[in-house]
Amino acid sequence: MSQTRLLSVLVENKPGVLMRVASMIRRRGFNIDSLAVGPTEDETVSRMTISVHVGRQQAEQATKQLAKIVDVIAIDDITGLRSVAHELLLMRVHTSPGRRTEIIDTVEIFRGRIVDVGASSLIVEISGSTEKIENFVELMRPYGIMEMARSGAVALVRGDQARIRIVDYEVGEEAVAGGSRRAPVAAGPAADLTGDI
């Protein structure tokens, strides 16, 4: 039985890290559905959000093998957690005479934006869950999708606290303490005070 896992991975912002992650996933026979990478609040750290398609027993392996990569600081399997997982869609859709208004109405319902207008096409920007994006794509198919680009999901877990606390060995007291010495620690279930807004 295979499934999709959503992994939030903090990595050193260094050249080649994306290749190390992608290479490991390919080598171990896991399939990437999407992978989004970008900077974080700390300029030395990047966050990768990886949607990976794995067999049931592989899910834990994928996480552990990722954690083993030396440039990976912390990894959090956020599948099934209350999280915000959004992706961005840009789509050029064909607008035949008389149907432009219908399209604009649909975009508004999806809380999207028209970001470019041509004589016979529009570029639409929509963000939201993968499901929402896919629904929108289906609705647009009859009009004629000319081209589209999707970012893949980026995600954060809901709640008041950062999920992952990076302990810096140079200053953190964990550096000398004998107890819990794993550098990256998931903060555990955060107080869930927020909802979908």
Binding site: V11, E12, P15, G16, M19, R20, S23, M24, R27, Q57, E60, Q61, K64, Q65, A67, K68, V70, D71, V72, I73, I166, V167, D168, Y169, E170, A175, G178, R181, R182, A183, P184
Partner: protein
């Protein structure tokens, strides 16, 4: 500054080239031997190498030999890191097989490869190759140096990564212009701390208590140990645990030597070509404790046949990713083997399951490791018995890959823990001969035997020149069966007997070959000459090549037919 404006006496700032920084840093990391090969992109390193007489450089004849030699050096001198130099492009690419071998068996090696100048990277310049990309899947980590001030801290970090946790090979790609650039020498004094590379955790005490209780309740306990026990030098701790609770101990191919065969609690190698009695013990065990092993397919045979009656499977390994990768344990401990075994033994109560040990002794009698000798031809095991009778529980034996490897492992018979080295994970033919050079250089006071087949030996035989040039005193045994023996056995038994590309119809005259390289060389096909030949070899100072023409039909037994389970082993008959 002092009051009169003079600069106070402090350590003078040392300005040196990047190459000198590198060599100085290697000395700080304890490197005394480098296996290498010069070329256009590392000539600056070689320009300054003679200024560091503390470092012995061994000029190999092919970079693969350098990687294997550094591997042998590190495996046999535990805690030390092997070190390799190679130039860019083909030089670095020739290392790949050796790095994969080190990676497969968790051997700490740091390879420093020359690279084209930083300004030329990405332009397909002469002898440029993407070394980071080419080696990525066979190294633990890799670095491309791009700033001269990064050289010293990168080398320090690379050695830390290579030797810490589960060890492994690390590549540092070192562009030519940085080797020549001048900088200040600042070696970081503090221990390396990396947020992305946490130290090895302490064993979880609650889990150790659970395991101690499971051992207490166990009726049919078995320990299996792997190379992790040898890496962490936990042989004494393993013996202490086994003796305290009277638990029989078996091992993987790479765990050979960790537990002495002559101990009454010793089983033998497990799995595909393991002893029948070990496989029976594992299949009947109610509590199975696996320490420092990966549980790969050569151990489990058909996965569902592995330890079917086990009620509590316990796995202790330093690498969390090994837990549950192939076999899912009930209790797992992520820790260094030495530490975990020591703490566990303190919690275990003395006990003895007489019935179980009696049963195991009975299996040992029913399924002894043995061979048949009735055709008058020299049997490989006869050669190995003679060799092992001259090891005095102290020689280091390096075996290649194939039939010779399994025979050498199954006949390894020490009364105390010893070193039996081979490429068990990657299974790299051609490993043993160059590796044995590194082993001898790391252990000048110990006898080193290299056991190879006629196929594997020629794969890296160019290193005879290195061996003779440096007077590296290795005794080489070629078990010559005129074929790629294991391939031939598999074709006979599992591929309808179609012998395809497995018979070596032209074999070099190994005596002439050895002599051409300036090496003492001998040959025989007669049983009674084996002992005297080994004595002569041991009496000779310097490397000796011994060719033994063995029974070309000699096979490895026991063996589990491909696709079958642990108890389907076939024995010699």
């Amino acid at each position: 500054m002092t009051s009169n404006g003079q600069v106070a006496e402090t350590a003078p700032v040392r300005r040196m080239t990047g190459a000198q920084v590198c060599l100085e840093a290697l000395i700080r990391e304890g490197v005394d031997t480098i296996f290498g090969y010069p070329g256009g992109a590392n000539l600056t390193l070689y320009r300054y190498l003679p200024e560091f007489p503390q470092i012995r450089h061994i000029l190999v004849r092919h970079e693969q030999g350098a990687a294997h030699a550094a591997d042998g050096y590190a495996r046999s001198r535990r805690g030390k890191v092997g070190c390799v130099f190679a130039t860019s492009g083909p030089g670095a690419l020739n290392l790949v097989t050796g790095l994969a071998t080190a990676y497969g068996d968790s051997v700490p090696v740091v390879a420093i490869t020359g690279q084209v100048p930083t300004s030329a990277i990405g332009t397909d310049s002469f002898q440029e190759s993407d070394v980071i990309g080419s080696t990525m899947s066979v190294v633990k980590h890799s670095y491309l140096l791009m700033r001269v001030e990064d050289i010293a801290p990168t080398i320090k970090e690379a050695f830390h990564v290579a030797r810490s946790g589960r060890p492994g090979p690390v590549v540092i790609d070192f562009p030519k212009d940085l080797q020549a650039a001048v900088t200040e020498f600042n070696y970081p004094e503090d221990a390396v701390r990396m947020r992305s590379f946490p130290p090895t955790p302490e064993p979880d005490p609650a889990k150790l208590r659970t395991i101690a209780n499971l051992i207490k309740e166990a009726k049919r306990p078995v320990i299996l140990c792997g190379r992790g026990v040898l890496i962490s030098q936990a042989e004494e701790e393993l013996a202490a645990l086994a003796h305290r609770a009277n638990i029989p101990v078996g091992w993987t191919l790479l765990g050979t030597g960790a537990f002495p065969l002559q101990d009454p609690l010793a089983l033998q190698m497990v799995g595909f070509m393991g002893a029948g009695y070990t496989n029976k013990a594992v299949c009947d065990a109610d509590v199975l404790i696996m320490v420092g092993m990966r549980c790969d397919d050569r151990v489990t045979t058909r996965l569902d046949s592995f330890a079917p009656n086990v009620e509590h499977l316990i796995h202790i390994d330093i690498d969390p990713a090994e837990i549950g990768k192939n076999v899912v344990p009930h209790v797992s401990v992520v820790a260094d083997a030495k530490n975990a075994l020591r703490q566990l033994t303190a919690l275990v109560e003395p006990k003895r399951e007489h019935q179980w040990l009696t049963q195991i002794d009975q299996w040992k009698e029913e399924h002894p490791i043995h061979y048949i000798s009735n055709n008058g031809l020299l049997q490989p095991q006869e050669v190995l018995e003679e060799m092992y009778s001259r090891c005095h529980d102290a020689a280091i034996v390096v075996a290649d890959v194939g039939l010779n490897q399994i025979w050498a492992a199954l006949w390894f018979n020490y009364a105390k823990p010893g070193l039996f080295l081979n490429s068990g994970g990657t299974g790299c033919m051609g490993y043993a001969f160059p590796a044995s050079m590194g082993v001898k250089l790391a252990n000048p006071d110990r006898t080193v035997f290299c056991v190879a087949g006629d196929g594997g030996f020629v794969m890296n035989m160019q290193e005879m020149a290195t061996m003779v040039e440096n007077g590296i005193d290795v005794k080489i045994l070629i078990l010559n069966n005129d074929s790629l023996g294991m391939v031939r056995q598999f074709q006979d038994d599992f591929y309808e007997g179609v012998r395809s590309a497995s018979e070596l119809s032209h074999i070099p005259d190994f005596v002439k070959l050895g002599e051409a390289f300036g090496m003492k060389a001998m040959t025989t096909s007669r049983r009674e000459e084996v002992g005297p030949m080994l004595d002569a070899a041991l009496a000779h100072k310097g490397p000796v090549l011994m060719n033994f023409d063995i029974d070309p039909k000699a096979n490895v037994y026991p063996i589990v037919p491909l696709g079958r389970g642990m108890l389907d082993f076939v024995e010699a008959s």
